[in-house]
């Protein structure tokens, strides 16, 4: 880190992210506290340690010029695919016994790192080819970079990441620019493939995931009480009222109504204890972060930086929106963690690295020497 970098370092962004992470740690602390006297589970300690590891990751990324990311993007992508394949082959150790606590959230989740590898690689690729893209170029890009990881993710199954991947692909190609007839073609193709993909999706889903979707569509038909989970999440949020029940006063979490109270439903726990006021403040911090990322994209010095920052912004925003929408009962529960807050080391680290890339792009925005 030279002086120049420190001068242009985006302290605002780092502050928002650290703030959210610390809110996350204390919410995990509260959500996992034992009801009676006894040992407090050490999730919050682990999360705290991961925040530190994340910061180290972030600083490391910032100290490199992101142009190198572009140059190494293919290697990065192949490594990412390798990780996914390894997961597929080795299988997910650590499931089973604790399954009801961590529905698909494990100590190491290659898919969490992969999504980042994908964004880096794909934005690099898009900046190298001629825009606007023809229909063939879009199809080629899909088959070359997206199809394989998409199916690997479905197989895991990591529905959330698979969905985000497809959305990223569509969003980035559109942003890069496609010929007018391609927009039309993509729409038609999308509509046609919905039932087909829907079937593949449906077949790959585990029972609990099917239940979630069914429960969301028809809360009355509730094969395994997922509707009960949605209800309880809404009860948790709503019962916070204006000021919240207060820190360590939430009942819905320790009462253990939700297996994912400290992962996918962390927001419900937070909203219960901090109320409307706290939740709005949290939303505003997130919004501030998103605006800053958008600004970073706008001011990037080159196409690659701009598209990369846009991609990362879009990805993190999707996570935030999907997760909160899920917790509030606006969207079906598909197991998407809340960036910087949900318990989970791999996700935290990869999100910090993503922020590191954003800061790196911003810090070098005046840098005109390649």
């Amino acid at each position: 880190m030279n002086k120049y970098l420190i001068k242009n370092f985006d302290w605002f962004m780092l502050t928002t992210v650290l703030l959210i992470s610390l809110i996350g740690v204390i919410t995990i602390f509260s959500a996992t506290r034992p009801l009676e006297e006894g040992g407090h589970s050490n999730f919050y300690i682990k999360q705290f340690i991961w925040v530190f590891i994340g910061i180290i990751g972030l600083i490391t990324v910032v100290s490199f010029d992101y142009v190198w990311l572009g140059r190494a993007s293919y290697i990065i992508y192949v490594l990412g695919i390798g990780l996914l394949l390894a997961t597929y082959i080795i299988g997910r150790a650590g499931g089973g016994a604790q399954r009801w606590i961590s529905l698909g959230v494990f100590s190491f989740q290659p898919s969490e790192l992969f999504k980042l590898c994908f964004v880096v690689m794909f934005t690099r690729y898009l900046t190298l080819i001629k825009a606007p893209l023809s229909g063939w170029a879009v199809i080629k890009a899909f088959l070359a970079f997206t199809a394989l990881p998409f199916f690997l993710l479905l197989k895991q199954p990591d529905l959330g990441t698979a969905l985000i991947l497809i959305l990223l692909f569509a969003f980035l190609t559109l942003i890069r620019g496609v010929k007018r007839n391609v927009v039309f073609f993509l729409l038609i193709a999308g509509i046609i493939s919905i039932p087909f993909l829907g079937n593949i999706f449906w077949d790959e889903l585990r029972d609990y995931q099917k239940n979630r979707l069914v429960a969301f569509m028809e809360p009355d038909v509730d094969p395994s009480g997922i509707g009960y989970q949605i209800t309880q999440s809404k009860v948790a949020i709503g019962s916070g009222k204006f000021l919240g029940k207060g820190f360590l006063k939430g009942t819905q979490g320790p009462f253990r109504f939700l297996p994912e109270k400290h992962t996918d439903f962390i927001f419900s726990m937070f909203a219960e204890e901090w109320g409307f006021l706290g939740s709005i403040v949290l939303l505003l911090i997130y919004l501030g972060f998103v605006y800053r990322s958008i600004d970073t994209a706008k001011n990037a010095k080159d196409d690659f930086g701009r598209l990369l920052a846009t991609g990362i912004t879009f990805m993190l925003s999707m996570y935030i929106v999907f997760n909160m929408g899920m917790a509030m009962g606006l969207l079906p529960i598909i197991g998407i963690p809340l960036p910087f807050m949900s318990y989970g080391g791999t996700a935290l680290l990869s999100n910090f690295i993503a922020v590191g890339i954003l800061i790196s792009i911003r810090a070098r925005r005046f840098d005109l020497f390649y």
Binding site: D220, S239, K241, V290, F314, S317, M328
Partner: protein, 579 residues
């Protein structure tokens, strides 16, 4: 300008999220706060009524009876006062403690099952003092005919550890009962249904306030089986307390009308979870009530096997209807002598009389002329040595048919002529199950068609699996002789002669080579066989009866078969049925 558009969209979405927060926390806040503080949402399982099993005439064999148990809600498990609960329920403290420790996450804990109505009333009245305790109703199976047909209908039980691991059963709650035996097990997935759920809101005292949501139960499908329960009952009654088996088939479809194995057991013992004492009593009973003798026991068929010998000898033209053989009470082969059961001898006999009087010497000779390999060939064609594939129990015995090759392979010795003799009259190595004997007599009755035996009432007339390559002439000669066995003077089964219906059949006695030689009691006496079909002209029922240690077929087994046949046929005559 793209960045600006993205910012607009994101802002809009965040506004929606904020709006939703406003709605949940400010508009519905009071109500949701009330729910979270004072109330608990509770999920109550509604048991799915298991499908009813009916007999072929639509008579129900089982019903579902409500039964009650006390459950403890999981969220109360850590704060509950074990001492007072054990007093309330009259269960030991250790027992309650253990159940709480062994619980599964998020599942209610069953503390006591099978409550009497009196206990239900007693606990109901005191529920408010015990937060987290509830009474749950479930359905238990009640078997209307008790031990009649128990081996067919089967019983229910809780998942055993092995089943809990199987993929098809993983969604079944630990306390659920599933079919563990017989039809109940075989068609469990059809009968089972899917339990429903009611999500209710309760107040701090556990009183139901309102129903929040409901998942309807899916009732199990009913099942019609081919058993005629009245016939089954009459057959079992006819056995008295003797051990043995009876199988009755419809010769023109392969449907099983009755399948008896005595002694039996009462499946109602299992209905609400069998007590350890009852289970040990059943398991260790020296008379093996849990053994399905109709399929799981194989016996030497004795003279019943002469049917097979006759078919192969006639088909191979080793003998014909006119062949006469003289019986002087036995014959010798080298240093061995083979006796006829009639020491004085039968004199000179034709085939018909030989079968009617069950002359051993005639069949020794017929067997010798035919040769063991030909007998084995026809025996296998007629199903000896191959199981009927009835999946009612694990381990249906296949029976056994020896031949020269087997002897060399298995024993390293050549086949002896003497072994052909004893095989010809159904002794020695040859073994059959009562079910196989019933299938054999069905083939004779219907003129050479082999059907799949089945316990399910078929929706359309079943087609035979194969037509045996045996001439109708042979069957006619044989059927004529079987009629004689029952209806002619000197026939061995005159005890089966009926005023109501013409029966044709064959007796048999299977020698028991007891390891406890010299034990004088009847326990090791010979097994008695009788197999028959009726009416002679238009066979509607084919039957095989085995009475363990019953002595002679004619005295022990034939009356049982006659009683069952008469009961079945007379009811059909009354009903004016002519199938």
């Amino acid at each position: 300008m793209t960045e600006r558009k993205i910012a607009y969209v994101i802002t809009l979405i965040f506004l929606v999220l904020g709006g939703r927060l406003f709605q949940l926390q400010l508009i519905q806040g009071n109500e949701l706060r009330r729910l979270s503080e004072e109330n608990r949402l509770q999920r109550i399982k509604i048991p799915s009524p298991r499908g009813v099993i009916y007999d072929r005439n639509g008579i129900p064999l089982v019903e579902n009876m409500p039964y009650y148990c006390v459950i403890l809600l999981p969220e109360a498990a850590d704060t509950v006062d074990i001492e007072s609960i054990s007093e309330l329920l009259g269960v030991s403290k250790e027992d309650v403690q253990k159940k709480i420790e062994d619980r599964k996450p998020f599942e209610p804990i069953r503390l006591k099952e099978r409550l009497s109505m009196k206990e239900v009333a007693f606990i109901e009245a005191r529920l408010s003092d015990y937060p987290g305790i509830q009474i749950e109703v479930d359905l238990a199976r009640h078997y209307l005919y008790g031990d009649v047909g128990a081996h067919v209908i089967g019983y229910l039980g809780k998942l055993n550890p092995e089943q809990a691991k199987s993929p098809g059963l993983k969604d079944i709650p630990a306390e659920a009962f599933i079919g563990q035996w017989g039809i109940e097990k075989l068609f469990d997935d059809i009968l089972r249904g899917v339990p429903g759920e009611k999500i209710i809101e309760v107040d701090a005292l556990g009183r139901e306030l309102r129903v929040v949501g409901e998942v309807p139960t899916v009732k199990g499908k009913d099942l019609h089986i081919s058993i005629d329960i009245q016939l089954q009952k009459e057959a079992e009654t006819a056995f008295g307390n003797r051990a043995g088996a009876l199988v009755a088939l419809k010769p023109d479809t392969g449907e099983i009308l009755a399948l008896v194995s005595r002694p039996s057991f009462d499946p109602n013992l299992f209905a609400k979870g069998i007590s350890p004492e009852d289970w040990l009593r059943l398991r260790d009973d020296g008379r093996f009530p849990m053994l399905n003798r109709a399929l799981q026991s194989q016996y030497p068929p004795g003279s019943v096997f002469k049917i097979v010998t006759a078919i192969s000898a006639l088909e191979k033209e080793a003998i014909n209807l006119e062949t006469k053989i003289t019986c002087s009470g036995g014959l010798t082969h080298g240093k061995w002598s083979f006796r006829c059961w009639k020491k004085a001898g039968h004199g000179t006999l034709s085939f018909h009389d030989a079968l009617v009087q069950s002359c051993d010497v005639y069949f020794y000779t017929a067997g010798r002329r035919t040769g063991i390999n030909s007998i084995a060939e026809y025996a296998r064609e007629l199903g000896v040595g191959s199981p009927c594939g009835l999946e009612l129990v694990k381990g249906e015995k296949p029976g056994f048919m020896p031949d020269e090759n087997w002897k060399i392979k298995a024993k390293g010795q050549p086949w002896y002529q003497g072994e052909t003799y004893i095989t010809s009259i159904g002794q020695g190595y040859v073994l059959m199950t009562p079910l196989q004997v019933a299938r054999l007599i069905s083939i004779v009755a219907n003129g050479g068609y082999m059907y799949d035996v089945t316990l399910i009432l078929p929706e359309e007339t079943p087609k035979p699996i194969k037509r045996l390559n045996i001439s109708q002439k042979t069957f006619e000669i044989l059927r004529n002789a079987l009629w004689g066995v029952v209806n002619e003077p000197g026939g061995t089964a005159h005890s089966a002669r009926s005023k109501i219906v013409e029966i044709a059949g064959k007796t048999g006695t299977a020698q028991v080579r007891s390891s406890k030689a010299g034990s004088a009691s009847g326990r090791f006496g010979d097994h008695a066989w009788f197999t028959a079909y009726a009416p002679y002209e238009n066979p509607q029922v084919a039957i095989a009866v085995l009475v363990e240690h019953g002595g002679h077929g004619a005295s022990a087994a034939a009356p049982i078969a006659k009683a069952a046949i008469e009961a079945y046929i007379s009811r059909h005559l009354k009903a004016g049925e002519d199938e």
